[in-house]
Amino acid sequence: MTQWVIYSGLLIALLLPIVGTIEFKTPRNVEAENFFQLIEDNVKPGDIVFVSLDFGPGTAAENLPQANTVTEHLFRKGAKILFLSFSPQAEPFLSGVPTSVTARLKNEGLDLKYGEDYAIAGFRPAPAVFLQRLVLSQNLAESLENDIYGTRISTLPLANNLKSIRDVSAWFEFTGLAGMVQNYIQYLNTGNLVKFFHGCTSVIVPEAYIYKDSKQILGLLEGITGGVVYDELLSKRYENRARYSEFSTQFQSLSLGQLYILFLILLGNLLTLIKNVRN
């Protein structure tokens, strides 16, 4: 009986923002604001950036808002993006994220072309091996081999100036996998060779803070909060832009769910205390 009451309470808490009865302001997030400003200051039109989508369906609720909003910002800044992933579960998002973002921007008159403005390298196994090869490569575009259509990436206009890792202006990684970020930090020599930006779930964010402290991660986005705050910052910067309302709703559901769980913890402890006092 108690279990059903708990589950029903959680379901109601999660549904309230979805059915539209509760809505509140997005909180401030200092890291998201810094991330935004770093892209504004460092990414210029024509810069080549890599975006790694190392997440699967399980953590897509947190990583997808981050990936969508940052990709949109990079496209608006005129960057040329190469999408790839080291997680086989990221396959649906590797084509989904660029497709949805470019479709959104097309409605605002920004027509982005595959091969010129972006390309999708696809899934690559063994990140440690692959990243080491990239760093050692004398012809980076050739090392990347084929894209998802089987075309040599070196033949795409985007790869015209891609000779070595130093031609990559920044690398953005979005993941929910613990330990994945260490591959990039270790093998890309982030902080010296490559400017590295990281978006992760709330669960693994503490392990990313230590690298932010040592400037091996320049920008950090924390969970769905980071994505939603970033969305708001983008709307402030680009006035006619439509916001991602579904991400905002997800965040509000999550917030209410968290409050409910905290309430359950306190309630459980209070009931135990009362029981102990009676005994």
Binding site: P27, Q132, R152, I210
Partner: protein, 274 residues
């Protein structure tokens, strides 16, 4: 295992691991292109191929185990059957997509060859029909700019058709993504139940843990931060200083432990597989 073979394997491990250690320090000390910068990428490609083979072996093992369960009607045979059918369906979808991709991507692959090959005439003579198709669009000379433009057009056409990997995408979008998300969503209910039943603060340490969790969670909660904006700063301080400090200790300890294990494996002192 005979002593000779044992020594041979130990020597191989020592030499191969030693090469990578040498290459790491040598490349960073020498500024010009070295011979190791030509050898190492090939070795790393070999390592990736071996990982792929390990994957295949694992799949074969899975297959054999579950076929045995199904054929002997052992406990849980139905779930083994579901697993086998899913495995066969996904493998088949991958193979069918590979064949479709090869057919659809033939023109793209041909254009890639023309753009990257040292002898494009060889490829023009080998595929006269494809060459004729491109000559109609680009003229006899087949200039690079035109080939790149035609390449982009084909890619757009493939994307509109849902290629590449049409079947695989369907399986992923229809089954894998919704099932994966549903499975992770169930965790929310388990956490709710566990937080009511199990999370008890019996001493000061568990109370400190609860208070820290409260601050971090509430500091990113829009509803609470609207009432108490100072929580954002307190949360950031807790993550930047307290949590980071602890994680640095844990990480350094884990890395030192990993280094010791790596040295033991390099020197074949690790007996865990004997």
């Amino acid at each position: 295992m005979s002593k000779g073979i044992d020594i041979f394997f130990k020597l191989t491990v020592f030499v191969v691991a030693g090469y990578f250690i040498f290459d790491f320090f040598y490349s960073s000390l020498v500024s010009e292109v070295t011979v190791t910068e030509r050898i190492t990428p090939e070795l790393l490609t070999g390592a990736a191929i071996i990982s792929g083979m390990a994957f295949a072996l694992g799949t074969l093992n899975l297959f054999l185990n579950h076929i045995k369960r199904v054929s002997l009607f052992l406990r849980g045979w139905f779930f083994s059957l579901v697993l086998l059918l899913s495995l066969i369906t996904t493998l088949s979808a991958g193979i069918v997509d590979l064949i479709n991709n090869e057919r659809a991507n033939l023109t793209l692959a041909f254009i890639s060859k023309l753009l990257t090959s040292d002898d494009p005439d060889y490829w023009k003579n080998k595929f006269p029909r494809l060459t004729k198709k491109l000559v109609v669009k680009c003229g006899e000379e087949l200039p690079r700019e035109c080939l790149v433009r035609v390449q982009a057009e084909y890619q757009e056409k493939l994307a509109k058709k849902g290629l590449p990997n049409f079947l695989f995408k369907f399986l992923t979008d229809a089954f894998f993504v919704p099932l994966g998300q549903a499975m992770f969503s169930l965790l929310a209910f388990f956490i709710a139940s566990a937080s009511f039943r199990a999370f008890r603060f019996n001493n000061y340490l568990s109370l400190a843990l609860l208070l820290s969790a409260l601050i971090v969670l509430l500091g990113q909660n829009g509803f609470v931060v609207a009432l108490f904006p100072e929580l954002v700063g307190f949360r950031t301080w807790l993550l930047n200083y307290v949590s980071s400090g602890v994680f640095k200790v844990i990480n350094i300890s884990a890395i030192i432990g990993g280094l010791i294990i790596a040295i033991r494996i390099w020197l074949s002192m690790d007996k865990s597989f004997k």
